[in-house]
Structures are given as structure tokens and as C-alpha cells.
Amino acid sequence: MSLFKVFDVAGSAMSAETIRLNVTASNLANAQNVGTTEDSTYHAKHPVFSSVLQSLNMESHALGVKVDEIVESDAPLTTRYQPDHPLANEEGYVFLPNVNMIDEMANMISASRAYESNVQVVNTSKQLLLATLKLGQ
């Protein structure tokens, strides 16, 4: 019954979107974490999605989603002149993370919308399955 596979597909997409939301939350939470060197400063992280076949059955067309990897943004870090800061380097500069607030907010909305549409898919499939069980009554 292929309707059952819809649950696997939508479930995998929901967990991938949850990871995306988690990454966005960690980016936003760490947006103000300053560092002494470029390497020790927080870099914005982004998940990379890829589709994955849900079953080895040749007849199956169900493609779920998995998170391939989480990449760090290579956008340049901004520096701020703050010589009295305990983390400032010899020249008196601190490094700020390369988190782009606007990008993160857009990502957050996109992830939550995608999650919602998958929840809707699960609900509709559930209704269809329950209606099928009542067939003939």
C-alpha cells in the first residue's frame, strides 16, 4: 500500500526541516559571540539536503529527504575595534560571526512553511487511509 510510504516520506522531510530550524536557531543564538581569532569565532552553519529513495522496491517512487552535511558559511567575518574587550587581539579588534540575520529569518520562515505543508500531507493521507478502512460500510 503506497499510502503508508507517504508517512515515511513526509516524516523524513519533517525531520530534515527540524534540523534546518535547529541550525537557524543556533546561528541566531550565536550571532553576537565575539572571538579573538577568525578560527575561534562562530561561523554561520547551513544544512545541505538531498533526496533519498525510501525503499528498494522497484515499483516505489517515494523519495524522502535527508541532511547530507552541515556546511559552514565562508562569508568574511566582520571585525570591530574594541580594545577594552577581554577577547580583543593585540591590535584591539574582536571578530564577529558571519551570521546574516535576514538570511536566517527567511530560512526560518521557509523551514516552518515546509514543515507545515508536510504535516498537511500526513493528515490528508491519514484521512484517506481511514476512509479506505471504512470502504463498503
Binding site: F49, M58, E59, A62, A114
Partner: protein, 132 residues
Amino acid sequence: MAIGFDAALGNLDDSLKVYSKRTEILASNLANTDTPGYKARDIDFRQALSRADNHQNIKLATTNKAHLSGSNSGMNTMETLYRTPLQPSLDGNTVDSHIEQQEFTQNAIRYQSTLTFLTGRIRGLKTALNGE
């Protein structure tokens, strides 16, 4: 007059199968809205239904009892096609979530109406059997 289940149900059971398969494909499209390089797919309902309807004809010849008879559910011959993108994105993804959502809802309603038709047919058979 003979009453057969096949004759009574017509191709409604096959269309139910094709609709549930299409639900799976459209759910995959909606799941992969944000996957780079994913191409949205769909099936030609008329073609899929006629193939599912004629699946009895597709069988492998077996000359030895050890031979596999082959799957004849008719669904493995179903061809998935790629959707023509209206607004292709830079990452190669061709899923337009509004179109997919609309198709998914329409498909679910059609599935439910097929179920209603089937229930009607079964009720008719029951009435005929009771002879009331």
C-alpha cells in the same frame, strides 16, 4: 445473469491504486521542496490507469517451475514524467509548492470520491444479494 466482482467494480479499484501511487509521488515532491537539484515528477493518469487495467496481459512466460513469474501488478510499468518548471530556481529544483499542494489536494479529493463510488457499488451488490 452472472454477477462478478470485476464487472461490478469496473476499473474503480485500479484507479484507487493509481491515485494512491500518485499521492506518494506528490508527497515526495512536497517533501523535496528545498532539496537542491530535485526534479518534480508526476504521472499521466490516463496512461497509468490503462496500464493498471491491462496488467493481466503482462506476464513472463515460465517454462520451468523454478522460474520467477515476475511481478504483474502493472504499477512497475507506470511511467513517471518530469514536470515542466514555471519558475525554475538557481539550485536546479523544479518543485513549485503551490502547484504540488493544489495537485495533492485534488488527488486526495478524487481518491475519496472513488471510494464513495466503490461504496455505492458494494451497497448495490449487497442489496442484490439480500434481494429485499
